[in-house]
Symmetry: C2
Subunit: 190 residues, 2 copies
Amino acid sequence: MEALAEKKKAILESTLQLIQEHGFHGTPMSMVAKKAGVAAGTIYHYFESKERLICELYSHVKQQSLEAMQHADDQALPYQQRFFALWHSLFDFYRDNPSVLIFFEQFVNSPYYTQKPLDPLDAFHKTMRQFFEEGVQQHHLREANPEILAMVVHGSIITTAKVHRHKKLQFGGNDLQQIAQIMWDGMAAR
Amino acid sequence: MEALAEKKKAILESTLQLIQEHGFHGTPMSMVAKKAGVAAGTIYHYFESKERLICELYSHVKQQSLEAMQHADDQALPYQQRFFALWHSLFDFYRDNPSVLIFFEQFVNSPYYTQKPLDPLDAFHKTMRQFFEEGVQQHHLREANPEILAMVVHGSIITTAKVHRHKKLQFGGNDLQQIAQIMWDGMAAR
DNA sequence: CGGGGTTAATTGAATGTTCATTCGGTCGCA
DNA sequence: TGCGACCGAATGAACATTCAATTAACCCCG
């Protein structure tokens, strides 16, 4: 069933691309179809509606983020080193996939996201939380709600990637390391 | 003639409200007109197009954020105290005006924002930067690019407000203080 | 092996709706 | 009488979605 997956994938990826360029609006199904090299009707073979397409794209993209994060984590390393690896690998992922970043942010602030019951099985979120739970339990990090730590760190990564993208600031490797360091110093056990 | 004609203000505020509820798309001009209590044509008396309306709304909203921040800053206080006041006042502003938060985020990730040359006179940004420049110069904060510090702190505020809004986490005052503290500890001079 | 039959995949023109924008006209005021 | 604010029905373009028709994939019986 590979050929089918091909088309579905092409549709998802075209949508992602086009949303980066033209926004959530300004991306008609006809344009998606054209870019994906399929007929308009074909999209409806794979996705019930535009809304469903976008929601599936969200899951797809989130899965990718998770993989980027997990890929870089080597549990054998000391915790602090793992923290920096996590920070940089996620940042790199967002920097190298600006369309993911944009789509993600647009989706989260759209009614699609608010309307849906939040996915309780959200693997990305869960993995992130576990990482910080571990840090707190082992006293590498200060006593704090791991959810909060996860949120703040992920926020710093997203923010940095967004600013980078807009070229408001061009970050050198030192700058990035400094940002990660600020986060670490703020959260580390006293 | 007021600083802003009553109707113009009503249009701006209705747009803000509706975008929170229905998103950037899903907010037709006719709906804005109805909510603002004016005729569709009237909007075009004040705004050239929907795009212009949205861009003006952005400036308007940014101005409000600036005021929220400045309002709380008392330069007579010690720097650290000013930092916490800034963090909390901006957070409170976003928490109490979720429509601003949503709109802001949606706009920044839309093509409207990317297309426009970035406003070099951006007063919000400038005020923020100056605050952190001062902290670095007076050695309250570590040696770092003040732009970066400003970005990271603002990011932490926005992230917290967003998560709060989605009710993923309900923050108590302690939680908030802890987040601000993490940021301070990370940035403070060693 | 082959061909007839069943199902799934794909097409793209047609449909009906929604929307931004326009414009001829009304109203109130100087 | 003139002007600017304001109205809202009318216009035309753009769009999501549908569907009847076409093609490819597969399977089973002879």
